[in-house]
């Protein structure tokens, strides 16, 4: 019997992830599938602040290091949040993926690493650029088979 593909859920360590995480857990238990928690470490910041070129030697890189630190803390918070909810689910695991949130979540499905993706309407907004505001809507537009809470 071939193993069933996991359900992936976008988790960001904030209360906004509680509902999607609960829904993903419910689906995973009902369907007997593994559960994959995902936090995307947004690598788009360098380009986002790239409109500006009048930087000081330490200002731009200092800022990027600062933001990276914040994103890594948020990733840890997401991991803790995921672990707390899935402690009774042996087939649950968590991954931090660097990249563009929209692209990475789509790629996860495209690569066949998960079959269903659960994303809350405010996923990654606690730590993200304005473009993640419509992440769930953009995902829905890209793939009609996505399950969105």
């Amino acid at each position: 019997m071939s193993a069933r593909l996991p359900i992936a859920v976008a988790v960001d360590g904030s209360p906004a992830s509680d509902a999607p995480l609960a829904e993903a857990l419910r689906l995973a238990q009902a369907d007997n599938r593994p559960l994959l928690g995902v936090f995307v470490l947004d690598t788009g910041w360098a380009d986002y602040i790239g409109n500006d070129w009048q930087s000081a030697a330490g200002a731009r890189q200092g800022f990027l290091d600062y933001i990276r630190g914040q994103l890594e803390s948020q990733a840890e918070a997401a991991r803790t949040q995921f672990a707390a909810v899935t402690r009774d689910l042996p087939s649950a695991h968590f991954r931090v993926i660097p990249g563009e949130p929209l692209e990475e979540l789509c790629a996860l499905i495209a690569r066949g690493e998960a079959e269903i993706l659960v994303v809350g309407p405010q996923a990654f907004q606690i730590c993200g650029r304005p473009s993640v505001k419509t992440l769930a809507r953009d995902l829905a537009r890209r793939a009609s088979s996505l399950h969105i809470v």
């Binding site: 690598t43 910041w45 380009d47 986002y48 602040i49 790239g50 409109n51 500006d52 070129w53 009048q54 930087s55 000081a56 030697a57 330490g58 200002a59 731009r60 200092g62 800022f63 600062y66 933001i67 914040q70 994103l71 660097p98 563009e100 907004q125 606690i126 730590c127 993200g128 650029r129 304005p130 473009s131 505001k133 419509t134």
Partner: protein, 381 residues
């Protein structure tokens, strides 16, 4: 992920060639074919209508093309093959600003600088105070207020990223501040030339207004060149940029002031405490030193006569440098257009947008009023 730091500039160059080729090719087509065609095309029975009425020149056309590449042709994201070349375009603009130093002598800077310091200083302080007050009024988070205060008062993105770590701003705060100031700046970049021409402003008045009223440095440059693409002493870009340089220099001071405000009454964590000297070293814009070096070289006649008003005409070297600058800025600004992401800008909103718009519009309009009031006292160079 490969970065410029890991591979070095030379190692990165081959990967940047496709993007650079696109930027240079775009500017060549615009300057050699599109602009001359627009100047000669007869529309509504009038030759050159397209330029006279729309005020489009190679600068605005370049920025528009960059925006179209990213947002229309490439669907919102620069393809990897072009990304490194577009990133390098920042270097073009920085280099151009350094070369702009050839438009001034030390005496001219001293003459113009005193008024610029007075005006810029006044507007920086006014904007900071206004944002702090509005932040309190609208109940905006203190760290967000700190980022917005410097972003709206000094130099847009540079100031926002320089201030964020010092006031513990969240990533999302910085993102919204940047989206707000860039959105406002892009709008002013396109409408300012129209307003300037409609009000019959001369280069001196326009440069002083735009240099004071527009939030972001790149946009000041673009707005000046859009008004008058000539790069020479006394043109809009020479006035606007000296204003802008004065403001950029104040970044470390403003970061220090806002940090003191943010931590007032609280114990700042040991690792985050920075003296003004440390901030000056860390946050001082390095290219300004290059610009000042160029001013010094021009002043001692290293490139021959500078062509300052009232003096002998510019030497062949100086003329060549100024020709290069037009190309360098043109190519760099296509790249800048390529970094304008409609999707990011559209999603700015909430209180930061409200505060940014109130302060931005106030500053923009007030700067115009002040420049018109003191037009007889503006010093020509």
């Amino acid at each position: 992920m490969t970065t410029a730091k890991e591979t070095g500039f030379v190692g990165k160059l081959p990967g940047a060639l496709p993007g650079l080729a696109l930027l240079i090719g775009t500017m060549v087509v615009i300057r050699l074919w599109v602009e001359p065609w627009m100047a000669n095309a007869v529309v509504f029975g009038q030759k050159g209508w397209l330029i006279k009425v729309t005020h489009l020149n190679y600068i605005l056309l370049g920025i528009i093309m960059g925006m179209l590449y990213r947002n229309v042709l490439f669907g919102g994201k620069l393809p990897e093959v072009f990304a490194d070349g577009f990133r390098l375009s920042r270097l073009f603009i920085k280099t151009g600003i350094i070369l702009l130093g050839s438009l001034y002598t030390v005496q001219a800077i001293v003459k113009l600088g005193a008024l610029a310091i007075f005006l810029i200083g006044g507007f920086v302080v006014l904007s900071i105070v206004m944002v702090l007050w509005l932040g309190k009024l609208f109940g905006m988070e203190r760290s967000m207020t700190g980022v917005m205060a410097n972003a709206c008062s000094i130099c847009g993105v540079s100031a926002a990223v320089a201030t964020a770590p010092a006031v513990e701003a969240k990533a999302a705060h910085v993102a919204y501040a940047i989206a707000t100031i860039l959105g406002f700046g892009i709008l002013t970049m396109f409408i300012s030339p129209f307003i300037g021409h409609a009000l019959g402003l001369n280069d001196l008045q326009y440069g002083a207004w735009v240099g004071t009223g527009i939030l972001n440095s790149g946009q000041v440059l673009a707005a000046c060149l859009a008004f008058n693409p000539t790069v020479a002493p006394g043109t809009a870009v020479s006035v606007g940029e000296i204003w802008n340089i004065m403001r950029v220099i104040s970044i470390p001071f403003a970061v220090f002031a806002v940090t003191v405000w943010y931590w007032a009454g609280h114990e700042q964590p040991q690792g985050q405490r920075k003296s003004l000297t440390t901030l000056l070293v860390e946050k001082f814009p390095v290219f300004v030193l290059g610009f000042l070096g160029m001013v010094l070289l021009t002043s001692i006649g290293a490139f021959g006569d500078a062509g300052i008003k009232g003096g002998p005409p510019a030497s062949a070297t100086i003329k060549m440098i100024r020709d290069w600058m037009q190309w360098i800025f043109g190519i760099g600004l296509v790249g800048m257009g390529g970094y304008i992401d409609f999707k990011e800008l559209r999603q700015a909103g909430g209180t930061p947008l409200k505060v940014g718009l109130i302060v931005g519009v106030t500053k923009y309009v007030l700067a115009l009023v002040v420049v018109l009031l003191i037009r007889d006292y503006l010093v020509e160079i």
